[in-house]
Symmetry: C3
Subunit: 267 residues, 3 copies
């Protein structure tokens, strides 16, 4: 059997023993697998943030990787635990939209409800499915159990949509900040693809919180000190940044703030 | 040799290089072993918190796992470094009570003082036993060195007791909050077992900080919005929670706060 | 092939998916390697702090370990990406001085620019060399690709020097605080070696922020409660500490604060 990889993305934090417990359960079932933390610091119950983090990292992993996500405000309710089988990966977690953005990059997929209790921990706790349902499912999957054994197909998985950017006329768009990273970069929902029509037009302007940001750079190096600028970041979305400083702190920006972009033909 | 697993539970944090140094030492001795972080964010010198975290996670790991714990206010003093050999696990760390709760779930055990300097790093630093005594001991143990080679038996290891809950009459009890997790759940020292006599009585009340909390739920799903409720959490202790919010923030609760519970026969 | 070890030291934090993305890239190229986090919590863009953390931990790892460091204010500028081959280790990251202190303990070394795009991720992003240049280089190196294949030799790598302590007369010295750890210990740039002339003189005094600290201890155990004292810490530098409390909080000390030490012959 080849070595298999299981990633974890949760809102458990790292101060409590919850993530450690999941790892223990996984290694009890498959001591050979490699466990990789993507992050445990998703804000509690923030499914959108979890979905974005998973989408930002999951595609870097080798084919066959099992991505476990646990951001789960509905734990213990009737929301289904699921396993999603795509062309490249498996995703294991709650059926609440957490995998939506990761899945948007994947082709055909099959979804199964995790209902076969043979693959649960005995006496699963209704407040900790991460340990008692998702971790064991991922571990058994990593040992080669076929997805179909875990439960019945699901035909209506819950999907989430990103706040949609608006295109206005032929060279204007309006989006919003969907994530602020550790460096204070403001990541918008305006993708390179959505703004493709802007290519070749030289004069690019963004407006945020009453400020106008001129210019779309390729790298941080071209920016002046203490100057806001735009670039497409490492996941393909437009970001507003300040070189070696926090754009978020500079203009007191928050997730949800509106960003308008405009592109004019050079005169 | 089968792969072996070493877990780490410390108060080192993750911003300094201390945990990384321990991992380097372990891998220098046994490059094949799997190292798993339980947590490095125990509050500095808080042995009780470290002991609870270890107890919450250790039992999820496979038989033979080596659990290293370093919360060590007495480092460099005469407190002994120890290795504890139980039916399922090994525990390595300071003899200061850190393993007390983990051990309460384990059967017969033997304790050895880590006194054989052949298994120390050369010139051990008196302020960093984690790197120079505990990490090498765990790594050598993972390679099959027998516990008896590490030093002489210890017959009086230091044990800690949890703050004891009080039973009052036949359906009243008083405990306290022993841990608050990332989600703001208030975890008490009232175990399911201690409150076993309450089973079958329907009307359950808890009192904390002058508030009365009615009802003992099985899952978060049954709770109303912004409403305090009780349930038995994933480690078997009574918790006071608010659905998808922080109970700790809502009522400004702290570790050590008193919790009274009462159970009345339905009229 | 023997298992290989790759360590990561970055300023990415653990809340974003950046470190996870690097791990995915590494495992996609070499699923067999062991990835170890030293820390991801270097303060953003603080090369000095990153260099100190790497130096504190790297020497604990086995010969052949590949240490990746990413604290990179110049990402996307003309600063070179490099691979440094020393007697014991490889270092991979930006050519900005980040490896200076780690290298000071290493003998002969060769430096190569990472210019061979065959070992880059396709279409490397100019804002995330960690994922697209450094992670793949480390992974290919771990599979046995020779350093010389990554690019041309570099003869003038950027090196950083620690703030230099001053020796004053035959038993006085002046240094500064270069790091404050999680426990509030104040770590200075005064090494055991630099202060070697002080050995054998019994009366040791340090002065910081107008306070005089008398005595140089071997262990925390000898200290009184709430009393500042000096000792040589686990990396060989003089530290000012308070037993089981934060010296930094007690005297409101900061990185950069001056520390004077003086040693008098006993009368």
């Amino acid at each position: 059997m080849t070595a298999s990889i299981i990633t974890l993305t949760t809102d458990f934090g790292t101060a409590d023993a919850y993530a450690g417990a999941m790892k223990g359960v996984i290694l009890s079932i498959n001591p050979q697998c490699t466990i990789v933390d993507i992050t445990h610091e998703i804000a509690p119950q923030n499914i959108l943030a979890g979905s974005l983090s998973l989408a930002a990292a999951c595609g870097c992993f080798p084919k066959g990787t099992i991505h476990v996500g646990v951001v789960d405000p509905g734990v213990g309710s009737s929301r289904r635990p699921v396993l999603i089988d795509t062309e490249n990966y498996f995703f294991v977690g709650p059926d609440n939209g957490l995998f939506s953005f990761a899945l948007s990059g994947e082709g055909a997929k099959k979804v199964y409800e995790l209902s076969n209790t043979a693959y649960f921990r005995p006496h699963p706790c209704q407040t900790f499915h991460g340990r008692d349902i998702f971790a064991p499912a991922a571990a058994h999957l990593s040992k080669g159990v076929l997805p179909v054994y875990f439960g019945n197909p699901v035909y209506d998985p819950v999907m989430m949509t990103l706040p949609e950017p608006l295109g206005k006329g032929d060279a204007e768009a309006e989006g919003e900040i969907i994530h602020i990273d550790r460096f204070g970069n403001l990541i918008t929902n305006l993708s390179r693809k959505f703004l493709a029509g802007f290519a070749g037009r030289r004069a690019f302007y963004a407006e945020i919180k009453g400020r106008t940001v001129a210019g779309l750079l390729e790298t941080y190096a071209g920016a002046g000190e203490d100057e806001l600028f735009c670039l497409f970041g490492s996941t393909g979305y437009l970001e507003i940044s300040v070189k070696n400083k926090s754009a978020a702190a500079l203009i007191d920006a928050k997730v949800g703030d509106t960003v308008r972009v405009e592109c004019r033909r050079q005169q």
